[in-house]
Symmetry: C2
Subunit: 310 residues, 2 copies
């Protein structure tokens, strides 16, 4: 219940990092692309094959260092249904290696449609009596603009199947304040109103470490909001994007954690995915370079957060 | 530019209806499902095959009555990558029949990721020098919670490729007011703030009929908000869900249109998709029943809106 499974993995590895799997062809070493294009041509299938091969190498290199991966749907949809097949295979492979999988889809819709998304990404799809897992992630990012009936269908699946969601509260991008930091007539900001809704939505899904199944996305690039939300949302687990490439530093994210070093997982995508480019090492060494960057980030976070304890 | 192509189709057919293609297996007549399951078993592929066959029949029956279709991503993702293949095939088939295709994905993310969604659904994907269309819709629904930099990548593709977006402003669901109807310290509601952003985002994409490429989703279930937004957002074309099954009536949507009978397209999903069940006709007659319902709705809308003129 709640994010217990994720929290236990974080503590076991002493690492609150989620590796974002946002592959674009630019990030993928030539030898992987060439092999895929030789087999399938410069097609969506060729690209998707390269992406999955690349991801497999990363997952193998990271699975004993990081507790979780976060594939970002957009980078798979960009390669059509073949790309979406690579997303499916990536989730399946990551789970087989013991990783907690957060599908970053920021899905949102009215109740009946949200039920379809909930089944797609976290639940089971009924096919005339047969129950099948369409994508099978452990958690899904969602957008709460539609209010409670866009969230409710997810909550029942979270309870039944020990899954979680992360609702966008304060996003990491430069323009996030245009709406999110507007002040309401109650004195609350839009993001804090959304944060309150997360606490309410999660109220009866609280796990043994005090966090509910309804987490919040709060960008590393906004440390003040991070601090405010941590204080106001004691049962809400945070997914923190924006660390590294987007400008968030280890110091910026310290407020997302409680006194036990628990309360958030910090995403790193480009810095891990492209570590081989930054290191200027042999492209064949890309997975080892990703591992070195993940270890560096783990040490950086640990030095700021301290020991993570249940 | 703007929604000119869509507006011209609406006027040519004198019908501002978009048929929502939100297929679930429950809606699909048994003979279609049985044929698909015989070939592929009760699998995701079997379900996806049935969905595409069902959609093809609907598209054939509707393409000279309605100007547009709106496949809802959730109902395809629910059947995994096979379902997403059915989405791709549906878009391709609808376009081959001259329909304007609105992919209802309510996508949203930070700028770099939104660029990937924009390429996926409206643009072209580069594969090492080859440019391919991943999904190729004419318009995409999006969520503006992240502000301008989550919208900007779409605008360049809208301009380059004559595409459009619909931003969620006031959604049709019962709980939409929880956030959207909150009042800001400026006196504006959240939805009207979002509406203003739509007018601004669209400002340099205005087509020859006065509407920009940035439309707004405004539910038929909220006629007061509809009226207010039509008055405040003169250049914003509306996508109006919630008609029929969700409770919106023809009278409720009249305010979405200007004096020329232009300004909006009204979605109907279940009423069209399940017309054969409501009519209690032979399941083999499902497409003809959908056509009869589309004609009934067209006449109902025309009687309220009057003649649509460029």
């Amino acid at each position: 219940m709640g994010f217990d499974r994720l929290i236990e993995k974080i503590v076991a590895l002493q690492n609150p990092t989620v590796a974002g799997l946002d592959p674009t062809l630019d990030y993928i070493p030539s030898h992987i692309k060439e092999a895929a294009f030789l087999k399938h041509g410069k097609t969506l299938k060729g690209a998707a094959t390269a992406i999955f091969e690349y991801n497999k190498g990363l997952i193998d290199a990271l699975c004993d260092i990081v507790p979780a991966v976060k594939p970002q749907c957009a980078y798979y949809e960009m390669y059509g249904y073949e790309g979406v097949f690579a997303l499916y295979k990536t989730i399946e492979y990551a789970k087989s290696k013991g990783l907690f999988v957060i599908t970053d889809g920021k899905r949102n819709d009215i109740g009946s449609t949200m039920e379809a998304y909930a089944k797609a990404h976290l639940g089971l799809t009924d096919i005339d009596g047969e129950s099948l897992e369409a994508f099978g992630a452990d958690a899904l990012t969602v957008n709460g603009y539609l209010g409670t009936d866009g969230i409710a269908p997810l909550l029942s699946i979270c309870k039944e199947r020990d899954k979680g969601i992360f609702v966008l509260v304060k996003t990491s991008n430069p323009s996030s304040g245009e709406l999110q930091n507007k002040t309401l007539s109650t004195g609350n900001t839009v993001y804090s109103e959304m944060g309150n809704m997360c606490e309410n939505w999660g109220a009866d899904t609280i796990g043994q470490y005090g966090f509910s199944a309804v987490g919040a996305v709060i960008g590393a690039t906004y440390p003040e909001e991070q601090k405010e939300m941590r204080a106001k949302l004691p049962h809400t687990f945070f997914l923190v994007p924006g660390y590294g490439a987007q400008g968030g530093t280890a110091k910026d994210i310290v407020h997302a954690f409680n006194v036990h070093g628990i309360g958030a997982i910090v995403n790193s995508s480009r810095a891990i995915l492209c570590a081989w480019k930054k290191e200027n090492c042999a492209p064949e060494d890309y997975a080892a370079a990703a591992r070195r960057e993940a270890i560096r980030m783990k040490e950086e976070l640990s030095s700021i957060i301290g020991k993570m304890e249940l």
